[in-house]
Each structure stands twice: as C-alpha cells, then as structure tokens.
C-alpha cells in the first residue's frame, strides 16, 4: 500500500500543484480582493465591505443579474429544444457510420474562432443583412435582429448547440432499443413513446446539455456585446467595464463571485434533477 502511495506522488504532484497554484488560488484570490480597496488606481490590501455594498445596493446590478439569468435560461431552453429533434434523428434513424460522421461535423465548430463566427452572424442579422435580404424576397420587411436579445440568443445557440447536440445524441444512443420496441409492442404511439419512454430515459443528457448551454451563455460576453448591442449589460459586460475602464478590480470581483455562486447552485440543482436524489 505504502508502495503504491510512494509511486503515485511523482505523477500526482505536478498536475495537482499546477492546478492548485494557477487555478484554485486565482479564484480564491478573487474572493480576497473583493474586500480590498483601490487607492489612486492601485489595489491596496484592506478589509472592507464597501465593494460588496456598492455593487449589491445598486439596482443596475440586479437588473443586469436578472437580464443575464433570463438570457441564459432562454439560451438553455432554446438550445435544448432545437437540438433534441436532431439528436433523436442522429441517435435512432441513421447508421453508425453516418452518426460518427455527423458527430465529427459537430466537433468542427470547436476549432473555429467563436469571434469570427459572431462577426459572421452580424452579416446575417444586420438590418440590410443576409436574412433580411432573403425575407424581402418573400415579402417580409426588414426585421430588427442585430443589437437585440434575439441577436444575443443567436450567439448563445451558436456557441452551445454543437456541444448540446453531442451530449444529447450520446445520451439517446445509449437507450436500450428493447424498451422502445416494448413500448411499440404495447401499442404506445410514437408521441407517447417519446414522452413516456425516451425522454425520461434521456433525462440526464437533456439536463446536462441544458446546463452546459446555461453555463456557456451565462458567462459569455461576446454575443451580448457584438450581437446584443451591449445594452442592457449582462454580468460579464459589467465585469469587463468595471475592470477595464475603472480599474475597479474589487468591484468586478464581487460580480464574479456572485456569478460563480449562481453557477454552482444552478449546477447542483441541475445534477439533482438529472440523477435524482443520491446518498
């Protein structure tokens, strides 16, 4: 026993120390500096609650919080709903070869710059952009899409859809086909089979997929800035403005901590929903 423990340290320590020093400590440090103050644009160690008070007492902070929540929740719902039919199709109706090819195409976007894709969406969504040009062919007048919540949502879905479809397809592909056959033999129609057999069995992957979409949208600053117009701001916009323009790192740290707490609580709730009560 002590033999294996001696053996594992040389392998365990390097990654452990690296992530402790450069991942955990920076996050903990955010918590520390949220109690520091800024004197002459310089960070000074302190023990004050004024940053917390400053941020949490403003209605603009809470409206940004609500706006971010609503957008992220919307992104999770829209992405989940949009990818589910495609995931079903890929999991149940195509050969394994086709499925593998499709999954590979889903991986492609991970290796294209998200910034470039968002810039590209601007060309689609602008008032005289591609989508409006196509709509005018069928006689629909210019719809305002850029610089609105709709624009932000398009960005979030772009960001999350490939991952969510991937997670859902893998979850659905693992469902025992015999259960679906059984439902069919027991005269359950396709709709009933979908809602009472497939969806409960696929629940973990549906919830985990939605959670990923929520996390990605909640933290993204590119879509709300360059497709949503930046107003009203989201929490990530708030962090950037506070950090970059005012050098007010402690106040930005307050926003960051509130975001992390929100994400942790949401994740715990989602995992409980996905896997039921454990312990």
């Amino acid at each position: 026993m002590s033999n294996t423990s001696r053996r594992r340290w040389p392998l365990l320590l390097p990654p452990l120390l690296w992530q402790l020093t450069f991942f955990l400590l920076p996050l903990l440090f955010l918590f520390v500096i949220s109690f520091w103050s800024v004197v002459n644009f310089r960070l000074e160690p302190d023990m004050t609650l004024k940053n917390w008070d400053f941020m949490l007492s403003r209605s603009s902070f809470w409206s940004a919080y609500g706006h971010t929540w609503a957008l992220a929740l919307g992104a999770a719902a829209v992405t989940t709903a949009c990818s589910f039919p495609a995931a079903c199709s890929l999991a149940f109706t195509v050969s394994e070869r086709t499925r593998k090819l499709a999954l590979m195409f889903l991986v492609v976007p991970f290796f294209t710059s998200y910034l470039v894709r968002v810039y590209s969406w601007q060309a689609f969504l602008a008032d005289n952009g591609i989508v409006n040009a196509l709509l005018s062919v069928v006689g629909i007048d210019g719809l305002p899409m850029l610089n609105s919540d709709f624009g932000s949502l398009v960005g979030y879905v772009t960001l999350a859809l490939p991952l969510v479809t991937l997670v859902q397809t893998m979850g659905l592909a693992q469902i025992d086909r015999n259960l679906i056959e059984a439902a069919h033999n027991l005269r359950a129609g396709p709709v009933r089979t979908l809602f009472e057999v497939i969806m409960p069995l696929a629940k973990p992957s549906l919830v985990v997929g939605a959670l990923f979409a929520f996390i990605l949208a909640f933290g993204d600053f590119v879509a709300p800035t360059y497709l949503g117009g930046g107003a009203p701001p989201t929490l990530s916009n708030l962090i950037i403005d506070t950090t970059k323009s005012g050098q007010q790192w402690p106040r930005a740290a307050v926003v960051a901590i509130v975001m992390i707490l929100t994400l942790v609580l949401t994740s715990l709730a989602a995992v409980r929903l996905a896997y039921g009560r454990r312990k």
Binding site: P85, T93, T112, L115, V116, N128, Q174, I239
Partner: protein, 288 residues
C-alpha cells in the same frame, strides 16, 4: 399498421431535414466568413461584389497581425507540451491509483473549462499581477495550460480506459520497475492519444481570446487581435484571419484525429456507461 409505418417514415424524413438545417445553422457562419473573405465589398452583404484576395494581402503584411501570429505560435507550442505532460500524469493517476479525495482531484483537473472566461481572466489578472507576471507572455502561457490541461487529460484517459490492466501486471511480473513499465508499456500504448492531445491543446490555446485579452497586456495573440478588430469598425480582415486560422487548425485537428483513432475511442466511450469529456466531469466530480 400501414399508416403507422407511413407516419414513421414521414417523421424520419422530417428528422433528417431538420438535422440538415441544424448543420446549416452551425456551418453557415463559418462558410459565410470564408465567402466574404474573398468578397471585394468592404461590407459583408449580398449580392457579392466580385473576387479579391486583397484582405489576405492586407492581413499578412500588417505588422501587428504578423507579430500576433508569431506570439500565438510561440505560446501554443509550450502550452500544448506542458498540458499534454500534465494531462497524462493526471489521467494516469485517475486510471491507476485509488486515493482519498480522488473525486476532488478530478474536479480540480476538469473544472477550468466550465468557469466563465471573464472570471478566469479577472482572477488570473489580479493574481498574476501580484506576482508581477500580468502583461507578460508568461501569463498567457500559464492561463492557457490551466484551460487546456482538462482536454488533454480527458483524451488520454479515454485511451487508458482501453488498456488491459493485465498489460502492466505482466510487465511488473517480468521484473520491470513501475517507471520502466510506464515508459516502455504505458506511454507507447498512449502514443497516438498523446500526439492528438498535443495538437488539440495547441488549437485550444491558439483559439482562446478572453483570458488572453485580460492578462496579455500589449502582447496580443491572434484572437486578441481579432477582438480588437471587432471592437473597431467593420473589417473584412477578420474573415481573412478567421479563414486562415480555421484552415490551419482543422488541419491540425484532422492530423490529430488521424493519430488518435478518435473514432475508436468514441465508440468505446459510447459503449461504456462513462462518457468522455463533459460526461467525465459529472461522473467524476459531481457525484461526490
């Protein structure tokens, strides 16, 4: 019965059409950026104005862009090397050893990509500036290893899951020391996934813009330069850079996948209850 089958068939066709549209949605911005990068009009709109390679010419003679490219390459190679080595260590520990706090260890290793980049950026900026590293290329390197390591670990862990445990035992029985076994048995077995992890972590680093934007100061990498372009006015240069980077990273990834036999790894993962990457987070971490 007939009509039931007919409905199923229609449903099936509808599903395929829908899936096609989904892929169109995913690939449209990528394709549009490729098309507009050759479009003579400065503004990305229809109809197209004619073919030009001016944007590419303009991009690759811009000293800021050239510098950013050199810096991105200089950062992404050591990032890939370090993440792959650390990722292998972490993956092997997860595979081989049982120890207290193992699930916490997994959480610590795999969590970074789920932390919003602005928060990582702010944390890194404030922390690294205390040790006088913020604004240096080192800061980008360190942050990118934190973000890329989980990808390397997940890929190598998937490969290790395919290894017969008896292989190592046989080697020990033949009097090879654990270190020799690691070097002569385990590493060769993982060789392809190591190459794949190297290429993919390089791509992750080459693509990361948010944390780099916070910590890099004046040392812009390519995506940070793109972000600066994006903050300015309409710029077809973004499409040119985007297309060039996309082509090179897809090449890297294709080579990486060729090396790893990702297909095999994926199939094995689909058969076993544990899922790769994202699934691994929930399996290892959140069932504490």
């Amino acid at each position: 019965m007939m009509s039931g089958n007919g409905m199923l068939k229609i449903g099936r066709w509808f599903g395929w059409a829908y899936t096609g549209y989904t892929f169109l949605f995913i690939l449209a911005p990528i394709a549009a950026s490729l098309v507009f990068s050759f479009n003579a009009d400065r503004f990305p709109s229809l109809p197209l104005k004619g073919f030009t390679t001016d944007w590419y010419g303009g991009t690759f003679t811009d000293p800021l862009v050239i510098e950013a490219f050199q810096r991105s390459v200089m950062v992404s190679i050591p990032v890939a090397l370090l993440s792959t080595i650390l990722g292998f260590c972490a993956a092997y520990c997860d595979f081989r050893f049982e120890f207290r706090g193992k699930s916490l260890f997994g959480l610590l290793m795999l969590l970074p990509p789920t932390i919003p980049a602005v928060i990582m950026g702010l944390g890194m900026l404030s922390y690294l500036s205390r040790i006088n590293l913020a604004g240096e290329v080192w800061a980008v390197l360190i942050s990118h290893v934190v973000i890329a390591l989980p990808f390397a670990m997940a890929m190598i862990r998937l490969r290790l899951a395919q290894m017969d445990a008896a292989l190592e035992e046989a080697s020990w029985n033949l009097r090879a020391s654990p270190a020799q076994t690691l070097w002569h048995v385990v590493l060769p077995f993982c060789k392809q996934s190591l190459v794949a992890a190297f290429l993919i972590t390089a791509a992750v680093s080459f693509d990361e813009f948010a944390v780099a934007w916070f910590v890099s100061g004046l040392n812009e990498t390519v995506p940070v330069r793109v972000l600066v372009f994006l903050q300015g006015q309409v710029s077809p240069v973004i499409n040119a850079i985007g297309t060039a980077v996309f082509t090179s990273s897809i090449l890297l990834v294709a080579i990486g996948m060729g090396f790893s036999g990702m297909g095999k790894a994926k199939r094995a993962a689909a058969d076993s209850p544990a899922q790769p990457a994202g699934g691994a987070v929930t399996n290892n971490g959140l069932s504490l």
